[in-house]
Symmetry: C2
Subunit: 309 residues, 2 copies
């Protein structure tokens, strides 16, 4: 698509491991998108602007130095060790009230970078950066909605919403724990030669859900079984994933049982959570994380006056 | 002590990270001991014999090539990726029946290396290597004993014993999980600047014990609190240790409540577990892991005929 003359602002979802950008017109219609694996996790302070220009530089060609293009960002780019530390809004919080953003100075005069606030909870202590924008996207499509949203990932979030207001949330380090076990633990070599198995996933899921208190025992048991049984095909990763997700679903059981959980995130991961929830007798609906982030950025742009009301 | 003329055999506790050796006389009296940080974890097959000679080489000086010195080993040195793979005995198992050992050929003709078997359990799958020798040591001092032995560590073992027979056991990856979190997780930098606090340990212990299903949520909460509260002094490591030990103690609650748990292991660690068990209303007694390993090796030597009956 020829974006010249139409591109008005840029939306950015910049997490720890990835950067996704959309170029949009003044009505909030996306014209172009791009992404890179340059997450904020690997960047020094001086590297953010070049990393951003690597992805969106071409889109800026038509603009003169005197005209600034709003770049609205969400995600870990606003963490303490990100590009600039953005504040936290506090629960209870209505995403439709969003609008506080932290401006970041840039060398390139065409850019007007603003990082959206994260969301915090005092008791028990919890924080998010990026997920609040995906939730804002969901709520922009479903105003005054009430229910439970789960955003699986490195740090899985469970969010309680009433009439469009985020009441509270809980984070589980499910994805991070899986990564630590697969990369650095006694299960690493086993995980390394694992083949995915839906059956092993559901087996682990049942164990994690039925006996969550045995989690750190079951992980050893997986290793011991491989030593004692000498199977050719190994499904340790699937079973570990099931164990950890079952553990998480047990802890949150009261919030999702008898309700429909909205799952927002990466396609394969939300599908895995949906399978798990359905297997345990629940009900879930998958939404694409990218689409929700985009919708949330558009909602923020509207609130900030970047898009005409 | 002058060991010349008295040293008859050598006992070895060779784990993943450490090697401890004792030189003993023909009656089973220890004459000399030594240790090194050369655990089996870092060694290739050819490196075991030199690593052993580094520690016990001097003790062998009086012996001619024609005379072989029995070297009785327990621990991970008998794992698949150790010096030689030793077999597993199976539960139920009486350590007093021990005696199967795997011989390892050596270049140095003075050595007669034998690795004691580990212990396995089929359902649920579990294994140990080294702890069975410490238990044998405990039982050699307390024949026909019944009760619960806990051996805290990287892989914490809970062992049920009746009349000197090991009926079954459960392993928890408590220590390994703690290491992964401290070294590789989002909590690493926080753990890095942590100061130990008994209060924070007991606070974590209560949380881990009272709400084990929230373990992976509490771990994130620790991180979130540090972001929100900006404390000068951080006790994250103590609280993580408490959380993980509380989790383990909850899972094993039925086995230790209303009984006295025998804790065998490293001094600081068994003391921490004793504090935890007493805080939760239980009763525990600490025994030094080294002493129990030595006693177990002596018991094995006697069964193998290395020590005269």
């Amino acid at each position: 698509m020829n974006i010249k003359g139409h591109l008005s602002w840029i939306g950015l979802d910049w997490g720890t491991s990835n950067l996704r950008a959309w170029g949009l017109d003044k009505a909030g219609q996306p014209l172009v998108s791009a992404s890179s694996g340059t997450g904020m996790g690997g960047l020094n302070l001086q590297e953010f602007e070049p990393a951003l220009l690597d992805v969106i530089g071409e889109w800026l060609a038509p603009f003169q130095n005197t005209r600034q293009v709003p770049v609205i960002c969400c995600g870990m780019v606003g963490a303490r060790d990100g590009w600039a530390e953005a504040s936290y809004e506090k629960v209870p919080f209505k995403p439709e009230d969003m609008g506080e953003a932290t401006s970041v100075p840039t060398l390139d005069k065409r850019l007007d970078v603003r990082i959206l606030s994260g969301l915090s909870q005092h008791n028990p202590p919890d924080v998010m950066r990026g997920e609040e924008t995906q939730i804002a996207g969901w709520l922009s499509k479903n105003p005054h909605w009430s229910g439970i949203v789960c955003l699986p990932g490195t740090h899985s979030k469970w969010v309680e919403i009433r009439q469009g207001e985020i009441l509270g949330f809980s984070t589980f380090v499910t994805g991070e724990m899986f990564g630590l076990l697969v990369k650095h633990s006694l299960l690493a070599s086993l995980a390394n030669r694992s083949v995915w198995s839906d059956g092993a996933f559901l087996h682990g899921l049942n164990k994690g859900f039925d006996e969550p208190q045995k989690l750190t025992n079951r992980l050893f048991s997986l290793r011991a079984r491989s030593l004692l049984e000498e199977r050719q095909t190994v499904h340790a990763s699937s079973e570990m994933s099931g164990l950890l997700i079952g553990f998480e679903l047990k802890a949150m059981e009261k919030t999702w049982v008898n309700k429909k959980t909205i799952l927002i995130g990466a396609k394969n991961l939300v599908a895995r959570y949906k399978t798990a929830i359905q297997h345990l007798g629940g009900n879930a609906q998958c939404e694409a994380g990218n689409e929700m982030a985009l919708a949330g950025l558009i909602a923020a742009a509207r609130q900030m006056g970047v898009i005409a009301p």
